[in-house]
C-alpha cells in the first residue's frame, strides 16, 4: 500500500524540502497529522509507511490547485436543491487528489490510499459552520472520479484542537474543544492553549516528534466527532485494502 497525502502546511500534513510540488522520502518533512496517520497504519496494516522508500507521497496545496485549474472535467454541479454552497474548493481538491492516486496506483501497481487534510475553520476557510457539508464535498470529490480509497481529515475547527485534546487528562468527553474559535488571534485559541501546555511555542517538527508517542491511547480523541469521523473512515479504507474480504458486508 502507498499513501498520497495533501494538506495546508508544515503544522498539519507536512511540507516538501525541495520547493517541489510533489515529494517523498527525505525530501518530505512530515507534520504531526502525517505522524498520527502512519501510526494508525502501523497498527492496522503492520508496517511503517514512512520507513518504506516512496511509500508516502506528498502533493502540495499549490500543485493540487494547478491540477484543478487545468482540469477540463466538470466541476461540482451548480447550486440547487440539497446542494450546499462553499464546498467547491474541497470537492475540486479531492477530485484531483483522487485522480493522482488512481494514476499512482495504476503506474506502481499497488493500492493507494489518499488522505486530504483541511482545517474546517481556519482564518483562511471561514465560514466554518459547515463541517458536514465540507466533509461530504470531500468524499464527493473522491467519488466523482470513482476513487473509493479517499479519506478526508477535517478537524473542527483545526488540527491544533486535535493536538490540544491529546494533551488533556480525563476520560470524559472533550467535544467542547470543537467549539474553540478557529481564529489564532482570539485570546483562548487552540494554538495559544497548546503553547501554554508546552510552556513555549512548538515548531512543526517539535510537534511531529511529540506525536510519535502521543497520545498513548486514542480514547480522548475519539470523543471529538471530527476526529471520530476521520478515524472511522480511515479504518474502513485501510481494512478494505489490507483484508478486502473482511470489509465486505
Amino acid at each position: 500500500m502507498k499513501l498520497l497525502i495533501s494538506g495546508e502546511g508544515s503544522s498539519d500534513i507536512g511540507t516538501c524540502n525541495n520547493a517541489q510540488g510533489v515529494c517523498m522520502d527525505e525530501m518530505f518533512s512530515p507534520g504531526p497529522m502525517t505522524i498520527w496517520l502512519t501510526r494508525f497504519l502501523l497498527e492496522w496494516a503492520g508496517y511503517d509507511l514512512l520507513a518504506i522508500p516512496e511509500a508516502v507521497v506528498f502533493v502540495s496545496e499549490k500543485t493540487l490547485a494547478q491540477d484543478a485549474k487545468q482540469s477540463t472535467g466538470r466541476m461540482q454541479a451548480l447550486r440547487g436543491k440539497g446542494k450546499q454552497v462553499e464546498t467547491g474548493l474541497y470537492f475540486s481538491n479531492t477530485r484531483q487528489l483522487g485522480l493522482r492516486a488512481k494514476v499512482m496506483s495504476r503506474d506502481d501497481d499497488v493500492p493507494v490510499m489518499a488522505v486530504f487534510f483541511r482545517d474546517t475553520d481556519g482564518t483562511r476557510s471561514a465560514p466554518g459552520q459547515l463541517w458536514q457539508a465540507k466533509w461530504d464535498s470531500m468524499l464527493n470529490g473522491f467519488k466523482s472520479v470513482e476513487f473509493d480509497r479517499g479519506v478526508p481529515m477535517l478537524p473542527k475547527p483545526k488540527s491544533e484542537v486535535w493536538l490540544l485534546c491529546a494533551t488533556k487528562q480525563g476520560n470524559h468527553s472533550h467535544e467542547v474543544l470543537e467549539n474553540i474559535s478557529g481564529n489564532d488571534q482570539s485570546p483562548n485559541s487552540a494554538k495559544a492553549q497548546l503553547d501554554q501546555f508546552f510552556g513555549e511555542h512548538q515548531s512543526a517538527t517539535q510537534l511531529a516528534e511529540w506525536c510519535q508517542t502521543n497520545p498513548v491511547d486514542w480514547s480522548k480523541l475519539m470523543t471529538l466527532p471530527s476526529f471520530k469521523a476521520f478515524y472511522d473512515r480511515l479504518q474502513s479504507v485501510v481494512k478494505a485494502i489490507v483484508s478486502p474480504m473482511a470489509a465486505l458486508p
Binding site: 484543478a68 485549474k69 475540486s92 481538491n93 465560514p127
Partner: protein
C-alpha cells in the same frame, strides 16, 4: 480614463470608493447598492451637464431621494480621479448642495502637484478661478458643477478633457425591452437610460458605422442581415430587423423582436459610440447562454471604459483570472444600511477558490450572506475608530 470615484452621502452609498479599470464588474446581493453605484456615476455625469432637475424628473425622483438616510449631512460629497490622455491624474473634489441644486464648492487639482495652491479650477460657490488666475464672481445661476456652464475656450485643455469625459458617461442601467421597442421621434439623437429612442438613434447610424454594427450583430445572431429604420408621419421612426432563413428574408418589427436582440443592439450601439464610460445593469438579462461569451468579448474589446453589474456566474467565467482579480468588485451592505465595496478576489479565501476554479464557479460556490458578514468583520479590523475603541478597552 476615470481611475476612481469616491462618493459620500448618495442613497445607500454612505462613503464608498470604487476603483475603476477599463472593464469593471460589480457583484452583490439584491439591494446591496449595485444600481446606486451606477446612479451615482450617472449623477456625477449630470453635474457636468448641468440639468440636475431634468435628470431627477426623468427618473421620477425628488432631490430628497438623493442623500443617504443613515447620515446626518445634507451635501453630497465626491472625489473623482481621472487620468488624462497625457497621463496626468486630475482630482475633482466637490460638495453638491441639495438645496441650491449645485456644487457649493469644487476644485480640480493635479494629484501630483506639490503645492495645494496649484489648482486648475476652484469655486467656493461665490467666486471661481481657473488655472490660478484672479477669481471672478459667480453672477449667474446654474445647476450641478460650475464647469457645466463655462465656455469650452475658458477651460485649460486637461480640465476640458475631464469635463467632456464625464459628460460622455452613458448609463443604460434602466434598459427595458418595453422602452427599446418604442418608436421615437427624429429629433431624438441619443438613446435614453432605459433604451428609449433606440430607433431614432439607429437612424443616425449610416455608412461604415452601420456596416460595422451589423458585422458585430451577426456575431450574436448569424441570421441577421440588416436593420431598417422607417420614417413615419410626424417624424416617428420605426425599427425593424431583417433576417435570412434559407433563401427567404424575414423582416421583424421592433415590437415583435426578442428582448435579447434589442438589448444587444442597444449595448452595441453604445460600445461603438464616443462614450467615455458605459454603465450597464445586469448585462445577462434576456440573453441566452450561447452568446454570453461573445457579449463578454465584445465588452472587453470595446475602446470605452465599462462598468457592468451581474448576477451571472457565466459572465464571470468568461473573464481571465487576472482580469477578474482586478475587475470584479463585491458590494455589500452593513447592518447600518450603508453600502461598501471590496475587490471580490482580494478576499483571501475567495482568491483560494480562484486558484482551483473559474471566477464564476468561485462566485456561485460562495455564500454571499456569509461573505457580507466576513467583509463587515474585516472592515472592523481595519477601521481606525474601531481599533481605537478596542485598544482603549484592552487598556482597562
Amino acid at each position: 480614463m476615470i481611475k476612481s470615484i469616491r462618493i459620500i452621502n448618495f442613497k445607500s452609498l454612505g462613503d464608498v470608493t470604487l476603483r475603476l479599470d477599463k472593464f469593471n464588474c460589480l457583484i452583490g446581493m439584491n439591494g446591496a447598492g449595485k444600481s446606486s453605484v451606477l446612479q451615482a456615476i450617472d449623477f456625477m455625469s449630470q453635474l457636468m451637464l448641468g440639468d440636475v432637475s431634468g435628470w431627477l424628473a426623468q427618473r421620477g425622483w425628488s432631490i430628497g431621494d438623493l442623500n443617504c438616510k443613515v447620515r446626518k449631512e445634507s451635501n453630497i460629497t465626491f472625489h473623482v480621479n481621472f487620468q488624462t490622455s497625457t497621463g496626468e491624474i486630475l482630482t475633482w473634489t466637490g460638495a453638491f448642495n441639495r438645496t441650491l441644486m449645485r456644487c457649493s464648492m469644487e476644485v480640480i487639482v493635479d494629484q501630483a502637484a506639490l503645492k495645494q495652491t496649484d489648482k486648475y479650477f476652484y469655486s467656493d460657490g461665490k467666486a471661481f478661478s481657473i488655472d490660478g488666475k484672479v477669481g471672478q464672481a459667480i453672477a449667474f445661476t446654474f445647476q450641478g458643477s460650475l464647469l457645466s456652464v463655462l465656455k469650452d475656450s475658458e477651460l485649460p485643455e486637461n480640465v476640458f478633457e475631464f469635463r467632456n469625459a464625464l459628460r460622455q458617461i452613458r448609463s443604460l442601467e434602466l434598459l427595458s425591452p418595453h422602452l427599446l421597442r418604442k418608436s421615437a421621434r427624429s429629433s431624438d439623437h441619443d438613446i435614453g437610460t432605459g433604451g428609449e429612442k433606440l430607433s431614432a438613434y439607429l437612424d443616425n447610424i449610416k455608412g461604415k458605422r452601420k456596416e460595422a454594427l451589423i458585422v458585430l450583430l451577426k456575431r450574436f445572431y448569424p441570421t441577421l442581415t440588416d436593420f431598417n429604420v422607417v420614417s413615419q408621419r410626424s417624424g416617428w421612426k420605426k425599427l425593424s430587423v431583417i433576417e435570412i432563413f434559407g433563401d427567404q428574408y424575414l423582416e421583424t418589427e421592433a415590437s415583435h423582436m426578442n428582448d435579447g436582440l434589442l438589448r444587444i443592439l442597444a449595448v452595441l450601439t453604445q460600445a461603438d459610440s464616443d462614450r467615455s464610460l458605459i454603465l450597464l445593469d445586469e448585462i445577462e438579462n434576456g440573453i441566452n447562454q450561447e452568446i454570453v461569451e461573445t457579449l463578454v468579448e465584445t465588452l472587453l474589446a470595446s475602446h470605452q471604459q465599462m462598468l457592468v453589474t451581474t448576477h451571472s456566474p457565466l459572465i464571470l467565467n468568461y473573464l481571465e483570472d487576472d482580469l477578474a482579480r482586478e475587475a470584479v468588485q463585491f458590494i455589500y451592505k452593513t447592518p447600518k444600511g450603508e453600502s461598501r465595496i471590496r475587490p471580490f478576489f482580494g478576499i483571501p479565501r475567495i482568491d483560494d477558490k480562484l486558484r482551483v476554479m473559474g471566477p464564476g464557479d468561485a462566485f456561485v460556490d460562495t455564500d454571499l450572506k456569509s461573505l457580507t458578514q466576513e467583509c463587515i468583520e474585516l472592515d472592523q479590523q481595519t477601521d481606525p475608530t474601531t481599533q481605537a475603541k478596542t485598544a482603549s478597552g484592552d487598556g482597562k
